[in-house]
């Protein structure tokens, strides 16, 4: 009797000791992951320090990348990242919003799930396979049909000068547009679905058509979520590496023509990593640090904007 009581008591005592232990163990694991990330950021900046102190501000403003003379800068790649991301947003975001509207507002219920799944699968295709597809299947179409056509109507602008060979900033931008569609479409769709039905009912009861309801009552309500979705797409486009490396043509130059090859921050790292050493390696890491901060700012803004909806971001996405 006494021993039974004693064992019960000790079990109680043990449990009260084990509870905070478990609590703080899981907490320390979570915090350790964050601390590790912080340490790695510092380590990365440390590895880039040689280049940071050697080139100083010139690194971001000059356009010279010359391994032979050991002079490096990031401007051509920042430029390339900006142009390809801009193309991706211009093509990808309107398409994604159309998809989101169809899937959330217009589609018959039975078709929503399967269509959603198919669009979602776009995020599951690995980046390197997008690149492979773009190199061998998309390129002939771009080179023979799309680019001559664009040149015939827009050839007078600075953006479509020269001859396109299907391996250029336009190709990279188009493949990026396809790759951001699942992200932007899913977050947009979630923010549309979060619009209360009373909004729709109010508009419908006033005699509005589906289209008018969507435009007046739903889209205005979901605006900020969709804007956040677009920024999230931008974050994805900025950091995408493999598909861009395989399609952009890898030329370290600044040119306004989308039919010229270029290079992005991510692709220059992927391309030059094998032969990089010394100052060049440090310069590549500095480009990585710049990319890190750009991606951090873009993603934090997007996360703050989409708020609750953010759980819907596809995570199956093939390698960014």
């Amino acid at each position: 009797m006494a021993s039974e009581k004693g064992s019960k008591q000790s079990a109680l005592v043990r449990s009260s000791a084990a509870d905070p232990l478990f609590h703080y163990f899981t907490m320390s694991i979570g915090l350790a992951v964050i601390a590790l990330l912080g340490y790695m950021v510092l380590k990365l900046i440390g590895d880039a320090w040689h280049s940071i102190t050697y080139f100083e501000g010139r690194f971001l403003t000059s356009a010279v990348w010359n391994p032979r003379e050991d002079v490096y800068s990031a401007l051509p790649f920042i430029f390339g990242t900006l142009t390809t991301s801009a193309i991706a947003i211009l093509i990808g975001v309107p398409l994604s919003i159309g998809i989101a509207i169809y899937l959330s507002e217009l589609a018959p219920p039975w078709i929503r799930e399967p269509l959603s799944f198919l669009v979602e699968l776009l995020a599951a295709v690995p980046s390197v396979i997008y690149g492979l597809w773009a190199m061998y299947a998309l390129r002939p179409v771009l080179m023979n049909d799309v680019e001559p056509f664009l040149q015939s109507i827009l050839g007078w602008t600075p953006f479509f000068q020269g001859t396109g060979f299907g391996i250029d900033k336009l190709a990279a931008g188009i493949i990026l547009a396809v790759m951001i569609i699942p992200t932007v479409a899913s977050v947009s769709k979630e923010s549309l679905m979060a619009v209360p039905d009373s909004q729709r009912e109010a508009a419908l009861s006033l005699g509005a058509t589906r289209y008018e309801t969507t435009r007046m009552a739903v889209l205005t309500y979901a605006r900020s979520g969709m804007f956040g979705a677009a920024i999230l797409g931008l974050g994805r486009a900025v950091g995408e590496t493999m598909a861009v490396t395989m399609t952009i043509g890898n030329a370290n130059m600044i040119s306004w023509s989308l039919l010229d090859p270029g290079q992005t921050m991510a692709s220059v790292i992927a391309n030059n990593w094998q032969e990089a050493e010394g100052l060049m390696l440090s310069a590549l890491i500095e480009i990585g640090v710049v990319l890190f901060f750009v991606a951090l700012i873009v993603n934090v803004i997007a996360r703050l904007m989409v708020g609750k909806v953010l759980k819907a971001v596809p995570m199956t996405g093939g390698g960014l």
Binding site: L118, L121, S127, L132, T241, G318
Partner: protein, 295 residues
């Protein structure tokens, strides 16, 4: 006031336009699947799947070492990433209703959509500078990509466990930590498996971080501290090569990789569907929207 007919026409036009967007977005998907099957299937035979990668012109060349390398990388990444991700998810779900939990959530969300090449750089500066290009640094990079995905899905899965179960267990005098392990985790098990599969599908196709860390290797290699081959790396290098036979092998490797990744996604899909068949549609929709990447 515009006429009813004009408004109706506009309505139908808009519906058609929106449907056109969906079709346009699906063209690449269908085209990729067709191209990969049509161009990849002729490359695949027993030798291709079991031999190691050789130089151009050698018909015996294969992707066996890349398949083994990918399995090893993913396996080691799971060993590192799954426990860390699941424990973080447990904390955030069970104890995380405070600023610590909220900031962990935020960090994980930001990390989840981070460029993977930056993660590759992290792993490079932390491990490759010490041990060189190696299997372990590649696996470490993949693990970092995994952690936020696993933590998020774990949190969502555990939140789905009804509170009445927690209360029932605590009322029986079971300590909280045993409640978490015995009651909550075993009830949220399917969700944990889903998260693990999703993260595996994601990291199996990662290329950029491997380029910076595990580097690739034309030979058979299983050592933790040696460079190791991987399917995505083989696809990349062969696709960029000027030789037709190597490009053909890239398509074959792409077919193997895409079958692996897509079947994982379909399995996850089936798992999440069958579990909630009996619930009302509203609950189903709400849950799916929260826990599963959906469009």
């Amino acid at each position: 006031m515009r006429s009813y007919k004009a408004r109706k026409f506009k309505n139908q036009l808009a519906s058609l336009l929106a449907f056109g967007c969906v079709l346009l977005a699906l063209i690449p998907l269908v085209s990729i699947l067709i191209e990969v099957i049509v161009r990849g299937l002729p490359a695949i035979d027993w030798n291709f799947l079991t031999n190691r990668t050789m130089s151009s012109g050698n018909p015996e060349s294969g992707i066996g070492n890349a398949i083994v390398g990918s399995v090893l990388l993913v396996g080691w990444a799971c060993l590192i990433g799954l426990p860390l991700g699941i424990l973080t998810g447990i904390y955030v779900s069970e104890y995380g209703n405070n600023w610590i939990g909220n900031s962990m959530r935020f960090f994980n969300d930001v990390l989840a959509s981070f460029p993977s090449i930056v993660v590759g750089l992290f792993a490079y500066s932390l491990l490759v500078t010490v041990v060189g290009f190696s299997l372990i640094s590649g696996a470490f990079a993949l693990a970092i990509i995994m952690i936020p995905i696993v933590a998020n899905t774990t949190e969502e899965a555990l939140k789905m466990v009804p509170n009445s179960l927690r209360e029932a267990s605590l009322a029986l005098g079971v300590p909280r930590w045993r409640t978490v392990i015995k009651v909550i985790i075993s009830n949220g098990r399917a969700g944990l498996v889903t998260g693990a599969l999703l993260s595996i599908a994601r990291i199996a196709g990662e290329t950029a971080p491997l380029l910076l860390t595990s580097f690739g290797n034309p030979f058979w290699s299983t050592g933790l501290f040696n460079p190791v081959a991987a399917l995505p790396l083989t696809i990349f290098r062969n696709a960029m090569s000027p030789y037709a036979d190597l490009q053909q092998q890239a398509w074959g490797a792409a077919l193997v990789l895409i079958v692996m990744v897509l079947s994982l996604n379909v399995i996850v899909r089936l798992l999440t569907r069958s579990r909630f068949k009996n619930r009302t549609k509203a609950v189903n929709r709400k849950w799916l929207a929260k826990s599963r990447p959906s469009v």
